[in-house]
C-alpha cells in the first residue's frame, strides 16, 4: 500500500574522509524527518560512494497520520462565570483553536482544574510534504564546505544532479540551480547516464552501471579480492582498517591488483616504505608469512580489469620515483654528521614567541636533567639525559623527515643508531613523542619517559605563558593531549616528584622571556589547565567530580598519590563510620577560613580539652607526614581521623570566639593548623557526603 522513495545527491568527488559521516547524517536525518512528519515506513537504507549520497525509504504510507492534540486552556475558575456559564475567556480560547464551547472538557493539574479541547490535525498527503525534504539534503554538515560558480550554497563539493522519486513520480524541488529528476549517472568511465523508474531498482541499476552503491558491499569486494591475491601469491596482506575504509571511499567499482618494486629498496627503513605505500599512494604493503616485508604492494583501481597491466605499470613507476627519492635522501642525510643537524635547529622557529627549536632543545635539556636528578638518578644517567635531549629533534632537519613528516622520531631513532648513539638514547628520540594521542602507548624506557615529560612540559608551560590557551575545539599545539600525556607518564612511573616541581622548573626556563607578563597569573592558568586534565583522567576512572576537586584543590602533587586519596575518599563518603570524623574536620575547616593565624602559644592553652587537642595535633602531624612520605593515603587519613574525638571535645568545652583576644587568636591558630593539615590531604568541605542513616 505504501510507496518507495529515493533521494540521490550526485556530486563531484567528495573527500573520502567526509563520506561515512555524511551517509550517517543522511540516514539519521531522514529517519527524524519521517518521524516528525508522521509518515510511517517499513525500512530506510542509505548508500554512499565518492560521487553520490543516497537514501531509499521503503513502503512509506501515502498520507500522514491524523492526530488529536490536547490543548490546555485557562483554569476552570477563569473559564466559568459565577453562574456556571462559560466566560469570555473560555469562548475566546475555543475560538482561537477553531472549536466551540461544546468541545470543552476539564482536567485536573496539580489540584487545579483547567479546561481543554481536543484538536484534530488531519494528515496531509505524503506527496505534498516530500518537496520539503530538500532541507535535509541542504542540511548535511561537512568538515569543510565550498562554493562554486555563482551559487551561494556551501557544500563539500558541487552538486551535479539530484534524483528524487516518489514511486514512479519525480518529487519536484531544486538545490543550487539543479532540479530533481529521475536521471542518474553510472561510473564515470564505465557507466552511462540512466533513467530510474522505480526507487527499489536503485542498487541493481547502479551495479549494472559499474557503481557499487552500498559501502559495506564495496568494502567486502575489496577485502575478498585481497584475500584471493593472498592465496594466489602465497603472501600475507595485513589490512589496516582505516586504509581499507579510505580506499573504499575513493572508488565506485573496485579492482585490486598487485604491483612490485626493486628489491634494493628493502634496504630503506621499513617505516619509509610503509609510509610511501600507505600514506602517499594508498597501497597495502605485502609481507611473507614470517612478517618480512616483500617488494610488492596491493593497489585498488576505480574500474574493472581492462588494461590492468597499464595501471599496474603506472603505479609501479610512481612508487619507484618516490622510493628513489627516499633512497637519495637516506644516502645524502647520512653523509653529514648528527651535529650538523643539531646546529641547524637554530634556523627553525618552534613558536614565534618561544624561540627556535635550538632554544627549545636547550630548555628541554635543562628540565630533563633537573627532573632526573630530583628522582635520584645517577650521574651517568644524567649525562645520557643531556645527550638524548640535545639530539631529540635533530631528525626534523633531515631531508627524510622534511619529506616524510609523519616519520619524525622514528627516523631519528634509526639514524641515531646508525650514527652509533647508545640504544636507549636512540630509542628516546622516538619515545619522547609518546603518547601520540590521549590513550596512546607510553614510552617504555626511563629516558624516553623523562624526555617526553620535559618536552611536553616545555611546550605546555611556554604556550600557556604567552597566552596560547586552548579554547573549545581549538587546540593547535595539542596542549590538552600533551598535558594528559605528562600526567599519564607520571602516574605510570610513580616518580617521587610533584607535577608542580616539574612545572616550576619549566617555568624558570622562561624567566627572561619578554612575552611572559605576570608569573602569578601564568601559574594560576597552568594550575587550572592541569587540574582540568587531571580531572578528566580521574573521571574516566569513575571518580566523582567533587572528590576530585577536593583532592586537587591545592595542587596536583604526586599524581598517583592524588589518585589514591581520591579513591579512598570515594569510599569514605559512603561510610557512616567516617561521618563523625568528616563533621569534625569540616567544622574546623569552616572556622579556620576566618583566620591567617598559625602561631599556637602553649601558655594560652587553658583548658584540658584544648591542651589535649594540641597534643593530638602534634602526634597526628607526625603520623600524617610519615603517611605522606610513604605515599600511603590510608595512613595519612588515619592520622587525621585520630583527631575526631579531641576536636569534638574541644568544641564541646570551649568558645572559639572568646572575649579575650589572646585566647581567641590562639584557638583560631590551633584550628588553622589542623585545617592546613586537613587541606593538605583534601579540601573536605567541598565534598558532598553521602552517608545515609
Amino acid at each position: 500500500m505504501g510507496k518507495d522513495i529515493l533521494f540521490e545527491i550526485g556530486l563531484e568527488e567528495l573527500p573520502a574522509r567526509f563520506i561515512d559521516d555524511a551517509e550517517k547524517q543522511l540516514r539519521t536525518k531522514t529517519k527524524q524527518w519521517f518521524e516528525e512528519n508522521r509518515i510511517s515506513y517499513q525500512r530506510i537504507t542509505s548508500y554512499s560512494t565518492p560521487r553520490r549520497l543516497a537514501v531509499l525509504i521503503e513502503q512509506a504510507v501515502e498520507e500522514q497520520e491524523t492526530v488529536e492534540e490536547e490543548v490546555k486552556g485557562p483554569s476552570l475558575k477563569v473559564a466559568q462565570t459565577e453562574d456556571g456559564a462559560w466566560s469570555k475567556a473560555a469562548v475566546g480560547f475555543t475560538k482561537g483553536q477553531g472549536m466551540t464551547v461544546d468541545d470543552i472538557y476539564t482536567k485536573e493539574v496539580k489540584g487545579v482544574s483547567y479546561i481543554y479541547v481536543k484538536k484534530r490535525i488531519d494528515g496531509k498527503k505524503t506527496k505534498e510534504l516530500l518537496p520539503a525534504f530538500k532541507e535535509i539534503i541542504e542540511g548535511i554538515q561537512f568538515g569543510k564546505n565550498m562554493r562554486w560558480s555563482t551559487e551561494s550554497l556551501r557544500y563539500a563539493r558541487p552538486i551535479r544532479w539530484l534524483v528524487a522519486l516518489y514511486g514512479e513520480e519525480i518529487i519536484p524541488f531544486e538545490i543550487a540551480s539543479v532540479p530533481t529528476d529521475r536521471i542518474t549517472y553510472g561510473h564515470r568511465f564505465l557507466g552511462k547516464k540512466v533513467s530510474l523508474n522505480n526507487p527499489k531498482d536503485y542498487e541493481n541499476v547502479m551495479e549494472k552501471q559499474y557503481v557499487i552503491v552500498n559501502a559495506e558491499d564495496r568494502k567486502k569486494r575489496i577485502l575478498d579480492s585481497i584475500r584471493e591475491l593472498e592465496i594466489n601469491h602465497d603472501v600475507v596482506i595485513p589490512v589496516d582498517d582505516s586504509l581499507l575504509h579510505e580506499v573504499c571511499n575513493l572508488v565506485e567499482y573496485p579492482t585490486a591488483f598487485v604491483g612490485s618494486f626493486d628489491e634494493r629498496f628493502l634496504n630503506l627503513p621499513e617505516e619509509v616504505l610503509i609510509t610511501s605505500m600507505k600514506e602517499h599512494q594508498r597501497y597495502f604493503p605485502v609481507k611473507t608469512k614470517e612478517g618480512q616485508l616483500l617488494p610488492k604492494f596491493i593497489g585498488v583501481r576505480n574500474g574493472n580489469d581492462k588494461k590492468l597491466d597499464t595501471v599496474v605499470k603506472g603505479n609501479e613507476k610512481v612508487l619507484r620515483a618516490r622510493l628513489s627519492d627516499a633512497e637519495f635522501f637516506f644516502e645524502e642525510d647520512l653523509k653529514k654528521p648528527i651535529d650538523y643537524y643539531v646546529e641547524r635547529l637554530e634556523k627553525v622557529v618552534f613558536q614565534e614567541k618561544l624561540g627556535t627549536y635550538m632554544e627549545k632543545v636547550k630548555r628541554v635539556q635543562s628540565i630533563a636533567v633537573q627532573t632526573a636528578s630530583l628522582i635520584n638518578q645517577e650521574s651517568c644517567f644524567l649525562q645520557k639525559t643531556e645527550r638524548a635531549a640535545m639530539i631529540s629533534k635533530f631528525d626534523l632537519m633531515t631531508n627524510m623527515v622534511q619529506e616524510f613528516t609523519e616519520l619524525q622520531g622514528i627516523i631519528g631513532e634509526k639514524y641515531a643508531a646508525i650514527y652509533g648513539e647508545e640504544d636507549d638514547i636512540a630509542a628516546s628520540i622516538r619515545e619522547h613523542y609518546m603518547p601520540i594521542n590521549a590513550n596512546g602507548k607510553l614510552p617504555d624506557t626511563m629516558l624516553g619517559s623523562i624526555l617526553s615529560v620535559a618536552d611536553k612540559m616545555d611546550t605546555v608551560v611556554g604556550c600557556i605563558s604567552v597566552g596560547l590557551i586552548p579554547t573549545g575545539s581549538q587546540d593547535p599545539y595539542g596542549l590538552r593531549r600533551q598535558a594528559t600525556g605528562i600526567l599519564r607518564i607520571l602516574e605510570e612511573n610513580n616518580w617521587d616528584i610533584s607535577l608542580e616541581t616539574i612545572l616550576e622548573i619549566a617555568l624558570q626556563q622562561y624567566q627572561d622571556n619578554k612575552y611572559i607578563e605576570n608569573t602569578e597569573d601564568v601559574k594560576k592558568s597552568l594550575h587550572e589547565f592541569f587540574q582540568q586534565r587531571a580531572t578528566f583522567i580521574l573521571r574516566e576512572k569513575q571518580i566523582e567530580q567533587d572528590v576530585i576537586h577536593a583532592v586537587l584543590d591545592k595542587e596536583i602533587g604526586l599524581f598517583n598519590y592524588a589518585e589514591e586519596k581520591a579513591l579512598l575518599l570515594s569510599q569514605k563518603r559512603h561510610d557512616s563510620d567516617f561521618k563523625r570524623t568528616q563533621e569534625a574536620l569540616v567544622r574546623v575547616l569552616n572556622i579556620a577560613k576566618k583566620t591567617e593565624e598559625t602561631e599556637v602559644d602553649t601558655d594560652y592553652l587553658q583548658t584540658e580539652s584544648e591542651r589535649a587537642l594540641f597534643r593530638s595535633y602534634l602526634e597526628a602531624k607526625e603520623n600524617y607526614d610519615e603517611g605522606k612520605r610513604e605515599k600511603n593515603a590510608n595512613k595519612a587519613l588515619q592520622a587525621l581521623t585520630e583527631l575526631t574525638e579531641p576536636i569534638h571535645a574541644f568544641f564541646d568545652h570551649n568558645m572559639v570566639m572568646a572575649e579575650d583576644e589572646n585566647l581567641k587568636r590562639n584557638r583560631l591558630a590551633l584550628l588553622n593548623r589542623i585545617a592546613k593539615l586537613t587541606n593538605d590531604f583534601a579540601n573536605l568541605s567541598i565534598i558532598e557526603w553521602k552517608q545515609h542513616q
Binding site: R147, W148, G299, K306, K317, V349
Partner: protein, 292 residues
C-alpha cells in the same frame, strides 16, 4: 606525443572551449597562479576564461640538472574559467583524451587536496588528479584571493607538463623527454638548469638582492598609490622572486622570513582590493561584453 605537441593540443582544445589564449607572463614567478591573468582576473564579477603555459621558477628546487624530477624551472599549463562551468570535470577529462589518455585504460581519480598560498592570501578547495597513482593536475575552486572572497567562483586547472609528459612518453628522467621530434628537454634546459642552480646557491649577489627587494617593494607601494594596479603587481612579483632567491641562498633568518612573507602578502592584498575597485570604476567592462 612530444611536449610541443602536448602544448599545442591543450591550447587548441581549450581555445575551442572559449578560453582566451595568452602567452606566458614576462615577469619571473613561482607558479602559473601568480600570473595577473589568474590572480587578478579571478577577482570580481567579470567572466574570464583563459589558458596559457607558464614557466615557473622555484629557485630552492634547483638541482644543477642532476635530479630526474626536480627543476629550477618547470612548466605549467594553466586554465582559468570564471564562473566555473557545471561540466568542468568532463571538459578536463576530455582534454586528457585529446592527449591520448583513454580513461578506460587507466585509473583516473580525484583525490582531495585543498590548496593554499598564504603569501597571496589565496585559498581554494579541490583535488589533485591521479593518473595511475601519479599526480598530474591540480584542480581548484578558488574560494579566496588576495584576502577577498571569490564571487563568482573561478576554477583553476594546473597541468604539470613535465609530469604528464614523463607518463605519456614513459621516461624516468625529465631531461630525457622529447620536446619536439629533434630536441630533448636536456638539449634546451640542461644548461640553464645548471647555471641557475649555480647562481642561486653560490653566485647570487645577496647584498644587491636585498637592495632590490627594498626597491621593488617601495616601487610597488608608490605605483599602487597612483592607482596603477598592473605595474604595482609586477613589482610584487619581483619582490616574491627576489625573496625566493634570497631564501634559497639561506641568508634570510627564520625571524626575518615571516616578516618578508607578510610584507609581500600585505602588498598583494592591497593590490587585490585596488584591482576590484578599478574594475568597478570602469564599470566592469567585460560583464557588459557578455550581455551583448
Amino acid at each position: 606525443m612530444n611536449i610541443q605537441q602536448m602544448i599545442l593540443t591543450l591550447q587548441d582544445y581549450w581555445s575551442k572551449h572559449n578560453c582566451i589564449l595568452v602567452q606566458a607572463y614576462d615577469v619571473e614567478k613561482g607558479a602559473g597562479t601568480m600570473s595577473p591573468m589568474t590572480l587578478l582576473r579571478s577577482l570580481g564579477p567579470e567572466p574570464w576564461n583563459v589558458a596559457y603555459v607558464e614557466p615557473s621558477r622555484r629557485p630552492a628546487d634547483g638541482r644543477y640538472g642532476e635530479n630526474p624530477n626536480r627543476l629550477y624551472q618547470h612548466h605549467q599549463f594553466q586554465v582559468i574559467m570564471k564562473p566555473s562551468p557545471d561540466n568542468i570535470q568532463e571538459l578536463y577529462l576530455n582534454s586528457l583524451k585529446e592527449l591520448g589518455i583513454d580513461p578506460l585504460e587507466h585509473d583516473i581519480r580525484f583525490v582531495e587536496d585543498n590548496w593554499e598560498n598564504p603569501t597571496l592570501g589565496a585559498a581554494g578547495l579541490g583535488w589533485e588528479v591521479w593518473l595511475d597513482g601519479m599526480e598530474i593536475t591540480q584542480f581548484t575552486y578558488f574560494q579566496q584571493i588576495g584576502g577577498l572572497e571569490a564571487n563568482p567562483v573561478a576554477v583553476e586547472l594546473t597541468y604539470g607538463i613535465e609530469r604528464l609528459a614523463s607518463y605519456i612518453q614513459d621516461k624516468e628522467n625529465v631531461f630525457d623527454l622529447d620536446w619536439n621530434e629533434q630536441f630533448t628537454y636536456r638539449d634546451i634546459f640542461y644548461q640553464p638548469e645548471y647555471e641557475h642552480s649555480k647562481y642561486t646557491f653560490e653566485e647570487s649577489d645577496t647584498e644587491m638582492l636585498f637592495q632590490l627587494f627594498r626597491m621593488y617593494e617601495k616601487e610597488a607601494e608608490r605605483t599602487m598609490e597612483k592607482g596603477l594596479v598592473f605595474p604595482a603587481y609586477d613589482y610584487v612579483l619581483k619582490c616574491s622572486h627576489t625573496f625566493n632567491l634570497l631564501d634559497a641562498r639561506g641568508v634570510i633568518s627564520v625571524t626575518e622570513r615571516t616578516g618578508y612573507i607578510s610584507r609581500i602578502r600585505n602588498l598583494a592584498r592591497k593590490i587585490a582590493k585596488a584591482y576590484v575597485k578599478e574594475r568597478e570604476r570602469l564599470g566592469f567592462p567585460m560583464l557588459k561584453k557578455e550581455d551583448q
